[in-house]
């Protein structure tokens, strides 16, 4: 039983822009769903329709069993956090955070307790007595998040709430959001363009492009079994390697590479995809490539390579620097095949 359900949701703006072109979305009770995609894919418009800030051109939104398609934002029991925060300048941090509780009929003691809980959870203890103007941008954003999460609405809606924060703080806040959401067990719909953020937070990743859903499912599904080239490219950092070639006599054939296939695939043009962690150095490997750059990442290295069939990147554990210009033999541990015309996985 879905908790939030969007049925064939469409949004066409007055200028004719078809921002959302038929979205079917289901989010279970307590589930963390992330709408992921590049700028302009329709993810924010979808979220704003669920919040009641945009009226759908067509389709239906059901929350907790009730059709809320025509409800005003105030009639929907949602907690909303934006990328650009708006705090009340005349209220101290604790009063800003407690503000959404005012109209809820809680007594003073209960309100204070709720504020104290979220303040502790988000590590804002030192800030409670200050005014917004006395806070850095990052701290203001943390206060805005606390205000969004102090209530226990039916669903949290978050639009890139970490977008403006420093990388380090973003990671910290990401964990705090996840921990708070898990504890409260409140369904969440979260928008981001950062695939790594999406993968780490989501029970369900919804990959969007040009107003449509390309694929949705657990992080492991969209990562290991991407439905098409778009998803395969968008999910994963560094991106999956793609080699253009063709299927001939149960082999994938490209310049400098003849890769035997485990299962027969229909002959014709094909694109072979291989994740950087499945490219392995192998002195006996048939594919030869030259090191273009060694990119250090602490826990691992990304070795950028030039092969006859194109540019490749390999992810390896850190065992020292590879010399630029060195020649390596390569093997692939796991590959995927795509139809280069439709983009679908074969």
């Amino acid at each position: 039983m879905s908790f939030l359900e969007c049925r064939d949701l469409v949004k066409t703006f007055a200028d004719g822009t078809r921002a959302v072109q038929g979205i079917d979305l289901r989010c279970g009770e307590g589930e963390f769903a992330v709408l992921l995609g590049p700028s302009g894919c329709g993810k924010t418009t979808t979220l704003r329709m669920v919040a009641g800030l945009e009226k759908p051109t067509a389709g239906q939104i059901v929350l907790g069993g009730a059709d809320i398609t025509d409800c005003s934002p105030a009639e929907r029991d949602v907690g909303f956090a934006f990328q650009f925060y708006a705090l009340y300048p005349h209220l101290k941090v604790e009063d800003n955070i407690g503000f959404p509780l005012e109209s809820m009929g809680l007594n003073r003691q209960e309100r204070r307790q709720r504020v104290a809980d979220i303040v502790e959870r988000l590590g804002l203890g030192a800030l409670v007595g200050r005014y917004p103007r006395q806070l850095s941008g990052g701290d203001q954003q943390r206060v805005a998040l606390a205000r969004a999460m102090v209530r226990r609405p039916q669903i949290y809606l978050m639009d890139e709430p970490l977008g403006t924060l420093d990388a380090g703080l973003r990671l910290e806040m990401r964990e705090m959001i996840r921990a708070q959401q898990l504890d409260a067990g409140i369904a969440t719909l979260y928008v981001t363009h950062d695939q790594e953020e999406a993968m780490s937070l989501a029970d369900q990743v919804v990959v969007m492009d040009e107003g449509r859903i390309r694929q949705s499912g657990a992080a492991a599904l969209v990562y290991d079994q991407p439905a098409d080239l778009f998803v395969a490219h968008f999910i994963g950092s560094p991106s999956m390697n793609f080699i253009t070639g063709e299927i001939r006599e149960d082999c994938f054939v490209a310049p400098g590479l003849v890769w035997p296939l485990a299962e027969p695939v229909r002959p014709g043009p094909a694109t072979l995809g291989v994740r950087p962690e499945f490219v392995r150095p192998d002195a006996k490997g048939q594919l030869r490539a030259e090191v273009v750059r060694d990119e250090y990442q602490g826990a691992c290295r990304y070795i950028h390579l030039q092969a006859e069939c194109g540019r490749l990147v390999m992810r390896v554990a850190d065992r020292g620097r590879e010399a630029v210009g060195a020649s390596l033999g390569l093997d692939f541990a796991r590959v995927l095949l795509f139809d280069p015309v439709s983009g679908k996985r074969l």
Partner: protein, 342 residues
Amino acid sequence: MSWLQLKGVTRRFGKAEVLSGIDLSLEGDEMLVVLGPTGAGKTTLLRIVAGLDAPDTGQIEMDGEEVTHWSPAERDIAFVFQHFALYPDWSVRRNLEFPLKAPRQQLASGEIDQRVGWAAELLKIERLLDRSAARLSGGEMQRVAIGQAIVRRPRLFLFDEPLTNLDAKLRESLRLELALLRQELGIPAIYVTHDQAEALSMGDSIAVLAEGRILQQGSPEAIYRQPVSPVVARQLGQPAINILSVQRRGDAWIGPNEAERMPALSGTGEMLLGVRPEDIAPEGGRVPGVVRVVEDAGAAWILWVDWAGASIHIIASKERRFAPGETVHPRIDAERALLWPR
């Protein structure tokens, strides 16, 4: 002696000391990344190197000459900003020509055409040359802004978080392109960022800046593997390094895992032990821990584990699966662990 040197650079705004005794060095073929959070003083530092601001004390030397009081033009430095400023009504070509038409440059028009063509080819924006800047995407605008910096062939590049406002995916590909491009040009650069992945990936050398002070400068490997303090250690790595209290007992350090003895190092009493998430195996130790969250990082799992009274992160191989609530037996790779005084 290094090509660029900052010696004891200090800058105050009113009572606040924004930069305190900064010593930095940069070789003539290097990219130096200054890594620090918002408010650390990164932009002030770049402005002082550029000559847009002057230090209260200290000096700056370029290629053996003291330049502390030289004007920006005399220093011949190109600056690329986070918020790029292109002329929106001009074509990309005119935007690229602009820095070459300054009176100081005195270039023949053939030379200008040649340089613009060269930069456009390097940055793969040849097909955009006649488009107006207002019609470019964010990534294309940043390429043109970088183009404006390189056409001049300056003595030094300064980059102030140039990729911050771009999509994550675009940032990843541009950081590689930018590093390769700079390498090819052989012009030194200072690049400031708050993004540790960018710093590790692009820097020949990294300087960690916090509250106006350089906490450590060294190769990415040195900063990541031998950070001088927990503060530096936390600046790099994702997820962040695990920091645990340990006790000296007899000739060894006893970790949170009582059964495991850390290598004996100098120091007494209570210390802080730092261990990176990739240097803890989920199994092999004796003290049990409970998996709280399993994050999918694509190439690996990130486990949040409650263990020996602490909450730790472990990067675990995808060769096996984990479930929340599962019991594991973490084991620290003592060879790779770090110790600091408490």
